[in-house]
Symmetry: C2
Subunit: 541 residues, 2 copies
């Protein structure tokens, strides 16, 4: 991990990949037309050094005190460190950084090396009323790592856990591994795969996000049908919090009262800092089979996905794009397309992983189900292409931002019986909200979605929307679009997030979704563990 | 449901099945020899009418007040009703009833007909400081429904939920059904199967236990590998508690903070009374294939189970008996056996359910794995026999109790890497504890076990032990054996219960297993929901 190689105000590496290659000019020209621009604006980011940060409010005597308790080099107040820990990767975060807004950054950043150092930091913070923000990859797209100023606290310290990145143990027989929470995706998989195992958790942020972050926000990898969402593969943790250390039980199953440890996944740092995490691993599959189909409509694709989820085939992934997304990605590959042609057809990428005889039998069952739904096989090439490029798409966001566009994603989940209605309602809402909130009227607002994760009882929907950015009030523009979409999700009783988390962006809808009693329970639980509210204050509750 | 047909002090129906048939005399003679008796004692139960109950402490004016608020016939103080609601089906419960001990029964029994009536009862109870015990099938084998006297309460009312037994809705597309919590297993499956679906939850108590009971104690059916433990198929609930009604969210998946509703499974009535429960259902499988194998040792059988759990075959059940249990059941079928012959070989029953091509491929994978472990196929006959008799075994307990014997079961779960050590330690402990605590020395204490439920990371062990009952102090004898076994489970960091629950029997080991912080959280949660502690007081915390 070399933070110097990473962008301070955008996604990923400074030397990022070239996704568009020779289709670059054609693609941007196509997008320009769709967005209704005669010429795409040039709206680059400010320089990092031009940004104004808040004056640190933790007295230097207290900083020194902490420095002396830890090994050398663990505590920093460097300008660049404060900036890269001031925000995550949400649309608002990126806007704020690129536009050079004055930032509320943490006063100090601490890089603990082990559990004992985390305990030391927490004691110091607790004693001195200093707020603590646990920080993994900083890839939250919902404001999960942003400092929230609170008059009760003397200051804010961000705890970057990426120096705690050891794979501690593999229990080979039990298919359980234990690692420190700050380990990043690629390193974790490399160490596991060297021993023949995989966690199989490949979220879009895989290259930069951490084990602890995945659990904190209940993340989901692309292959979550096989490997589970974070709360499914999470087996236990050690959590450091003001009342002390909490090492959870870690049974394959139990009937010993309620499973209290289920409070940890999704707690977004407000209940403690995870130091070690136990998680379920798998042998590498004998066979992987990824292929692509075209469906005549989103509705038939959904129905086929629903049916396939009830079979016994070793599914790893279903990814069904709506006609708009299919159209957009086709245009991306082709370097544009005819904007006057109505979108048609829906692309499904589907993956099976497992024992060869089961994958073989699974293909037979799958083909039977899909034939009923008029699906046409496109073969393995397109799926392979997606697989190779699957972590590259977020890079496109920064380019769009450079060209006066805005782009964001949002996701939700609901039952199969409500999925199509929800999809249509959100699509219509975002479309309308973009039209109502753009100074530069788009010729055609780009609102697209895919079914991203499937379950026996329902699925998640992942929306992407691209729009001409308001140059007068870009944050307000986004907030109005986001509010329309989120209100629609709440109205349809779907969840405000399937795998991004709550952070600050989704907080206005959180209490309503949980219901008064459950929300009050969470408040009590938080108060019991953290009466001074020093752990990631302002998040969730 | 006709309670008159059921035993008041034993398992199941008065007109129970004849499990032993023409092997009856031979079997009891064999068991007599093993237990070291010259003649098996004759120790029948007392008559129900001879039992002394506590004088009800709820004033009749308050009873009348409740009666007037509900429809006629909902409230009863009949002697027989109080007795059958005084205890569940644990060893201690059965002993107390059979021996005619004075009983602490609920003052009144209420049979609410709907959610509104549950709310009425709870309001009345809350206002008057009356403790409430939710009662489903009353099949708890750990003291889960027993009234615990508490000076702070005016009295105790048991809420029998079996009149709330409607299947409310099936969301066919989403494979989610909703039913009232008091519905019993056979009725629920009949109604679901009529529509082509199954919940697939077949615990040993299936014929008499209820949907609400399964969730309350985190039960597991025989086919839990396919259909999940209660907490896995549980999708949501409406819970009535003193602060009001709590209708949980019910998403296929979410990242909206911690999943607070996970506190409900396993809460054993201390957080509220579930009125409606949503649960995941499945289409009836195309094919079921149940068969039997013999393994040369428990260790090789465990290793084969572990390996098969990591394949992708559509498993529904693995049930691996140790050599003692294999020996015992063989003797039961044969009408005895040679007690001087050392037990050998271990029987595995294994079941696949699902789409025909997947079951076919699964059989191929399974045979490959088992061949490596020197397993010998016994074919489908033995599995079929087990399947047909699977709910009959508990009846044998009452016969054993009539013959001066004691018999109990206990269960736990741990990881694969620790399973064999745990098995050996518990086996040895119970064996020793029986030898140390019997007046009539057994020739050979019967301690047997099977691996009952398997997971990717571990499995559960289910022990049965038969011993010459102490006629002087039968409860003390059991408590000493139970304590030895439970201490061993705690020492090995396994769970005190995999699917029976905590109730009163496991309470001494509960807090230690949860850890101080998690236990304190549960106490706070309970206090927040039920500050007067009227909901099943004395259970869990």
């Amino acid at each position: 991990m070399n933070l110097k190689e990473r962008k301070w105000c955008g996604w990923g590496l400074i030397q990022g990949p070239d996704l568009l290659k020779d289709k670059r000019d054609a693609f941007w020209n196509w997008l320009r037309e769709l967005s209704g621009f005669e010429k795409l604006p040039h709206t680059p980011s400010v320089e990092m050094l031009s940004i104004q940060l808040n004056t640190p409010s933790i007295p230097s005597s207290l900083q020194k005190e902490l420095q002396e308790k830890l090994c050398q080099g663990r505590v920093t107040t460097a300008f660049e460190e404060r900036i890269i820990h001031a925000r995550g990767k949400s649309y608002l975060d990126t806007l704020a950084l690129r536009n050079g807004e004055p930032l509320n950054a943490p006063d100090i950043v601490v890089y603990p090396k082990n559990k004992e150092e985390v305990i030391t930091v927490l004691r110091w913070a607790s004693l001195n009323d200093i707020a603590i923000i646990p920080f993994g990859g900083g890839t939250s797209v919902v404001g999960g790592v942003n400092p929230i100023k609170d008059v009760h606290h003397l200051g804010i310290a961000t705890i970057d856990l990426r120096e705690m990145n050891r794979l501690i143990k593999i229990d080979v027989k039990s298919r359980i591994a234990c690692a420190e929470s700050g380990i990043e995706g690629p390193r974790l998989e490399e160490l596991l795969q060297k021993e023949g195992f995989t966690l199989g958790h490949y979220p879009q942020s895989f290259e930069f996000s951490t084990l602890g972050g995945w659990v904190s926000a209940r993340g989901a990898g692309h292959q979550s049908i096989r490997y589970g969402k974070a709360e499914n593969w999470f087996a236990g943790a050690e959590l450091v919090s003001p009342p002390g250390s909490w090492k959870t039980e870690s049974f394959p199953a139990s009937a010993s009262g309620p499973q209290i440890k289920d409070l940890i996944p999704g707690s977004e740092g407000i209940l403690g800092i995870m130091t070690d995490i136990e998680f379920r691993i798998h042998s590498l599959p004998q066979e992987k089979f990824y292929t692509a189909y075209i469906f005549p409509s989103f509705e038939t694709g959904i129905e086929a996905s629903r049916e396939i989820m009830e079979t016994d085939i070793p599914l790893a992934m279903i990814r069904l794009s709506d006609s708009y997304e299919t159209f957009f990605y086709t245009a991306m590959q082709m370097g544009g397309g005819d904007p006057t042609t109505l979108p048609q057809f829906c692309l499904m990428l589907i993956g099976l992983e497992g024992d060869t005889p089961c994958v073989t039998a699974g293909r037979q069952v799958m083909e039977g189900v899909f034939a009923k739904h008029q699906a046409i096989s496109l073969g393995e090439g397109i799926a392979e292409q997606w697989f190779n490029q699957r972590f590259l798409l977020p890079y496109l966001r920064d380019e769009m931002l450079d060209y006066g566009l805005g782009v964001d994603t949002l996701e939700t989940a609901t039952r199969w019986s409500k999925l199509l209605d929800l999809y249509e309602a959100i699509h219509k809402t975002i479309h309308q909200a973009i039209e109502n909130n753009t100074e530069q009227k788009p010729q055609y607002p780009i609102v697209m979605a895919h079914l991203s994760h499937a379950y026996l009882d329902g699925a998640s929907l992942y929306f992407t929307f691209v729009f001409p950015r308001s140059l007068k009030d870009p944050a307000g523009q986004w907030q109005r679009i986001k509010k329309s979409a989120s209100d629609t999700i709440r109205f349809h009783n779907a969840t405000i997030s399937h795998h991004h988390g709550i952070g600050t962006d989704h907080k206005p809808w959180f209490a309503g979704e949980k219901g008064a009693l459950a929300y009050e329970l969470l408040r009590q639980i938080k108060n019991q563990i953290d009466p001074k509210n020093i752990l990631n204050p302002g998040k969730l509750i």
